[in-house]
């Protein structure tokens, strides 16, 4: 019998990444966890980007390469002392190569609760048209 209790979430260390270009501001860079799935009409990407505000997120698509970059600004006050630090904060950066051709003007991006939902509609395949010959 399948267990209906949702399982407990396990801790995953954040993965650091080295970006191709040097950062203008020094700091750590992490790869965000993503889910990518595809339907007939579109490819959807969900990325965990906690702490990134919509205005700090850059999504770039050129030459079939999709780049997601999110900036983080420090949230701690100046006179706070650390007692227990289990995770570090840093920018997010990840790149993907897309194999499908994407209709760029219909890309939709939503960032809520620190999760980015990026919908990339595929270009509609050319529908063959029947041509009737006038008599």
């Amino acid at each position: 019998m399948a267990d209906k209790q949702p399982k407990e979430i396990q801790v995953k260390d954040k993965q650091e990444v080295s970006t191709p270009a040097e950062q203008t501001r020094p700091g750590l860079v992490f790869t965000p966890d993503v889910d990518i799935f595809e339907t007939e009409l579109a490819i959807t990407l969900l990325a965990d980007l906690p702490g990134v505000r919509p205005e700090d997120l850059t999504i770039d698509l050129r030459d079939n390469t999709l780049t997601i970059a999110g900036e983080i600004y420090p949230v701690e006050g100046g006179d706070e002392e650390d007692i227990l630090i289990e995770y570090e904060t840093g920018k997010y950066y990840r790149q993907f190569t897309l194999s499908e051709v994407i209709a760029q003007e219909k890309i939709d991006a939503k960032l809520t609760d620190g999760v980015l939902r990026l919908t990339l509609p595929k270009v509609e395949k050319a529908v063959p048209r029947k041509i009737t010959v006038a008599v």
């Binding site: 209790q5 949702p6 399982k7 407990e8 979430i9 396990q10 801790v11 995953k12 260390d13 650091e16 966890d33 993503v34 889910d35 990518i36 799935f37 595809e38 339907t39 007939e40 959807t44 969900l46 965990d48 980007l49 906690p50 702490g51 990134v52 505000r53 949230v75 701690e76 006050g77 006179d79 706070e80 002392e81 650390d82 007692i83 227990l84 630090i85 289990e86 995770y87 570090e88 609760d113 620190g114 999760v115």
Partner: protein, 152 residues
């Protein structure tokens, strides 16, 4: 990750002398990982969510990264010396016709209790969940705040 707990030693909050050593240890850990990625260096196993706990004169700040968790699914309880976080993360239904290429995010439940070095005032607690980051600010109990002594 830096992992220093100073419970029960109220006079010894020194973080200056050890910060450099911690940084060196972190860098050595990272170096070891690049040499042999399969060896798991002993790291704190950790419970989800990972938290950062900081202190200032008047209270404590607890932060956790909880992307995709709604405020309704999160329960925070505060006792005199502990903060307890529990809740669940759910994903929206995606439909039948989907084909997954990558599946890195996890959904499920979490529950964690964090002990605090000093007593706090359970009446003065503020919590906010913004952009997937939870911030809980608690004020120290009046008895636990340092008191200024003036010399006559």
């Amino acid at each position: 990750m830096l992992y220093r707990q100073m419970f029960g030693l109220p006079t010894w909050r020194a973080r200056g002398p050890f910060t450099e050593l911690e940084r060196m240890r972190q860098q050595m850990d990272r170096l070891m990982e690049t040499l042999s990625p399969d060896t798991s260096i002993a790291r704190p196993a950790g419970v989800f969510p990972l938290i950062n706990l900081t202190e200032d004169r008047n209270g404590y700040h607890l932060r956790a990264e909880l992307p995709g968790v709604k405020a309704d699914d999160l329960e925070i309880q505060v006792l005199r010396k502990t903060i307890s976080l529990s809740g669940k993360r759910t994903f929206s239904e995606e439909g039948q016709e989907v084909r997954y290429h990558r599946r890195e995010r996890e959904a499920g439940t979490f529950s964690r209790m964090i002990g605090l070095p000093d007593e706090i005032d359970p009446e003065k607690v503020k919590a906010s969940l913004k952009n997937g980051i939870l911030t809980v600010v608690v004020a120290k109990a009046e008895a636990a705040k340092p008191r200024q002594i003036t010399v006559a």
